[in-house]
């Protein structure tokens, strides 16, 4: 029997703004290699998703006219009305789908954006629902309560789901604490990562950074959306402390987001404006090249359900520093960790990595051998176990 899964997603690369799209893409691809048939619903029809031949991508056409880049909406959380409209269209689309297509064995919904549609689909079809939590509203709001509307959707969806997949033990704990979901209902399936090797022709150069490096300056990179969740204000405070101890340091903050102006102002206030380079949003080659140039990668998140970027940086041989409040810390033990508020400790770590070749080499060598043991195939297998558990349960009932 071929397993048929209706996946409810929000974004896929290259039209994505973060790890959610990458994880959905890689997981589906690995599941397909196990013969799983996947219909993947997307709220956007920006372009046919190139290279996706292992599943059917079903665009919610109604969304197209309203918002070309719906995924950008979701992170800002600002334009709730627009999101609600899209979600309503999404729900309608799924309802229509269930009427016209062969009934799937499992509905797999990714994050709160698709949860309402998932719950609705479960209600009308009786197909079991798995809710895959890549992030909670608690993470997105940087440790706060967040938007009450989203909070409610999330809680309702998680209560209604038959099973929940969390991307880390950290996220599982958060779901249990915040939404009072029984821990037995939650499986942890860590993300993996896939490294796209750079060909020499693709290389671009960050001339200014190269010059600094030749001069003995170490580059600290932070990559991500410039939002409260990423803990970049604390990162800048630590950067200043480190810089006043050891002045051969430069900090690259790559990404865009609503906190950008505030961060630029903060760097100036701290007197390190010249040492902090804001690159704006980077993707593709420029983004991967940054991992290579950096002498260390800092993930300063206040709450990070997983954090695929940490694995990508490690795969480029770059030592990773991350907060204890990060799910990826559970799989990348060869790294340095700190609490997001402990700016003294982060400064200490940055100076030590910058000034010790031995430390950089030891972390990089051990981390890369640890990474070879992670794979999306492994992740797909765990996911399959969850599906099988659910379909067996349905057969008995």
């Amino acid at each position: 029997m071929q397993l048929k899964i209706l996946m409810l997603g929000w974004e896929l690369p290259p039209h994505n703004s973060g790890g959610l799209g990458v994880a959905c893409y890689q997981l589906s691809k690995a599941l397909a290699s196990y013969g799983v048939q996947i219909d993947f619903v997307l709220p956007s029809t920006t372009k046919p998703h190139e290279g996706v031949d292992f599943m059917n991508v079903l665009p919610v056409t109604a969304c197209q006219e309203q918002h070309k880049d719906v995924y950008k909406l979701s992170y800002a959380n600002k334009d709730i009305t627009s999101i609600k409209t899209i979600q309503a269209d999404y729900k309608k689309f799924v309802e229509q789908y269930l009427k016209t297509h062969e009934t799937p064995h499992v509905i797999h919904a990714h994050d709160w954006l698709t949860l309402e549609a998932g719950v609705h689909a479960k209600k009308i079809s009786g197909v079991p629902l798995v809710a895959h939590v890549h992030a909670t509203e608690f993470d997105r709001s940087g440790g706060g309560y967040g938007n009450p509307f989203i909070h409610e959707v999330e809680q309702h969806g998680l209560l209604m789901a038959d099973r929940i997949i969390a991307v880390s033990d950290y996220t599982k704990r958060l779901i249990v604490q915040t939404y009072h979901i029984p821990p037995e209902k939650i499986d942890v399936v860590h993300n993996s990562f896939a490294l796209d090797k750079l060909s020499p022709a693709e290389r671009i150069s960050y001339r200014y950074l190269d010059m600094l490096k030749k001069d003995g300056t170490s580059i600290v990179a932070a990559v991500g959306r410039l939002t409260l969740q990423k803990g970049l204000m604390q990162f800048l405070d630590a950067a200043a402390k480190a810089y006043y101890r050891y002045n051969r340091l430069a900090f690259v903050v790559a990404g865009s987001g609503e906190q950008r102006d505030e961060l630029i102002a903060r760097a100036a206030e701290l007197g390190i404006a010249e040492q902090v380079i804001f690159t704006g949003f980077v993707r593709g080659t420029a983004w991967r090249q940054l991992y290579e140039i950096a002498d260390m990668f800092v993930m300063s998140s206040i709450s990070e359900p997983f954090g695929i970027t940490a694995l990508e940086a490690a795969a480029h041989g770059t030592p990773v520093v991350m907060t204890h409040q990060s799910g990826v810390a559970e799989v990348l033990t060869h790294s340095l960790k700190y609490d997001y508020w402990d700016t003294d400790r982060l400064a200490d770590i940055m100076v030590n990595i910058a000034s010790s070749h031995g430390l950089r080499e030891a972390i990089a060598a051990n981390a890369s051998s640890q990474l070879t043991r992670l794979s999306w195939t492994q992740m797909a297998e765990r996911c399959l176990n969850v599906y099988h558990g659910m379909t067996r349960g349905a057969a008995h009932a």
């Binding site: 060869h334 400790r345 400064a347 200490d348 030590n352 070749h357 031995g358 430390l359 950089r360 030891a362």
Partner: protein
């Protein structure tokens, strides 16, 4: 009739507290109390309670009751210092045990260091300091040498012979022994006055590592079974060298595993016949030197590799040890006793061991024996302490920069 040479090593490092770049130049209290993981007094008292006190008392019973039972101890200088400061009653108990005359003490480096491989001058200084400590506390001048971690090579054998030691201890590692058995007395290459005791790592590790392991096919190990293994050895193999950490008893193998009863029952039963448990000196008198052993490469008692890689194998460890010994001349030239002492305390091999990444991996984190949450954390503390040493040297008007030999 067979002889067992039981040698137990007592040692505790002075652990470095979480020490950050913001402490450098501000305070030099690397070894002071800060958190429970690195609090040397707390750790010492815990181990003393679980292991040192009960095991010393057990050994005292054995030497008092059993005429042909003697034991050999190694007491590092950093152990003796902490013992004196944190648990004077324990030091008194050890002294009473030694005073029976049935305990031989081995010479070693005061700071439990690997100085032999980095600085001949520093090494000899630390050996002298240790001998002086044994003379002061016990009135004993040691004549048998044991280097830190049983690390040995031909050069150490030559040094021991030139320095007048009657014997050196090391690992009886098969690739070095080839067809030979560790159950004889050997000698270093070209030595005429110095012998070599080789550890029987199988029988030693049965107690030190495997005793409480329920996955081990021989679990549970009874003293009768253990004695049968030795009795079954070829008739002519008459010397069994059991070397292990003293902390095996009560700390590595907890009391509830039955390790204390095992060791007491075993030696009472062993010595009930014409077998003996002897001191190094007694063994040297009773057993002829069988052969000379060539060990050009360094052998230790650690891991499957039996080399120094657990201490100096990765890039962090190499950087740390190079930074440490590159400071030697400039530190000694300051004549600042406190500074010199702190620098020497940083030489204790445990600090380097904590930086090993060999066992630090997914699923294996709990097997990792260290006060730090990762080897990288340990490195931060260690290197910051080294930087502070450099800062203090600099304050003395010296150039404490790396590379200055």
């Amino acid at each position: 009739m067979r002889d067992i040479v039981l040698y137990l090593q007592m040692h505790q490092p002075k652990r470095i507290r979480p020490y950050s770049i913001f402490d450098i130049g501000e305070r030099h209290d690397y070894f002071d109390s800060y958190d429970q993981h690195t609090d040397n007094r707390v750790i010492f008292n815990k181990v003393a309670h679980k292991s040192y006190h009960p095991m010393i008392a057990l050994l005292k019973r054995l030497v008092d009751d059993v005429p042909n039972f003697s034991v050999n101890l190694g007491l590092s200088g950093v152990f003796l210092e902490q013992c004196e400061e944190y648990d004077p009653a324990l030091l008194r108990a050890i002294k009473e045990l030694v005073a029976t005359g049935k305990v031989e003490l081995a010479a070693e480096t005061y700071f439990h260091s690997l100085a032999f491989f980095y600085s001949q001058f520093e090494f000899e200084k630390q050996v002298a300091m240790h001998t002086e400590a044994l003379e002061r506390h016990f009135g004993i001048t040691p004549t048998v040498f044991r280097n830190t971690e049983l690390a040995y090579n031909n050069d150490l054998g030559r040094w021991a012979e030139e320095s007048g030691y009657k014997a050196v201890l090391t690992e009886g590692w098969d690739p070095v022994l080839n067809w030979r058995s560790s159950h004889y007395l050997y000698a270093p290459m070209n030595a005429t006055k110095t012998a070599l005791f080789l550890k029987d790592y199988r029988l030693s590790d049965d107690l030190a590592f495997r005793f409480s392991n329920r996955q081990w096919t021989e679990w549970p190990l009874t003293f009768e079974k253990y004695k049968n293994w030795i009795d079954a050895l070829p008739e002519e193999e008459k010397l069994i060298n059991l070397f292990m950490d003293f902390e095996t008893f009560g700390e590595h193998q907890w009391a509830d595993t039955g390790i204390f009863d095992f060791v007491e029952d075993f030696f009472r039963s062993w010595c009930a016949s014409d077998n003996r448990a002897v001191t190094f000196t007694e063994a040297l008198a009773a057993h002829p030197v069988h052969d000379a052993i060539d060990m050009p490469g360094t052998v230790t008692w650690a891991d499957n590799e039996r080399d120094l890689s657990a201490w100096t194998g990765n890039a962090m460890q190499q950087e740390a040890v190079n930074a440490l010994y590159s400071l030697e001349d400039s530190v000694l030239r300051t004549g600042d006793d406190e500074l010199i002492r702190d620098w020497r305390l940083l030489q204790t091999s445990d600090h380097l061991y904590y930086l090993s990444t060999k066992w630090f991996d997914d699923g294996n984190v709990h097997a990792y024996f260290s006060p730090y949450s990762s080897p990288y954390d340990g490195f931060l503390c260690y290197l910051n302490a080294i930087r502070d040493i450099r800062y203090r040297v600099f304050e003395h008007g010296e150039r404490g920069l790396p590379g200055r030999g």
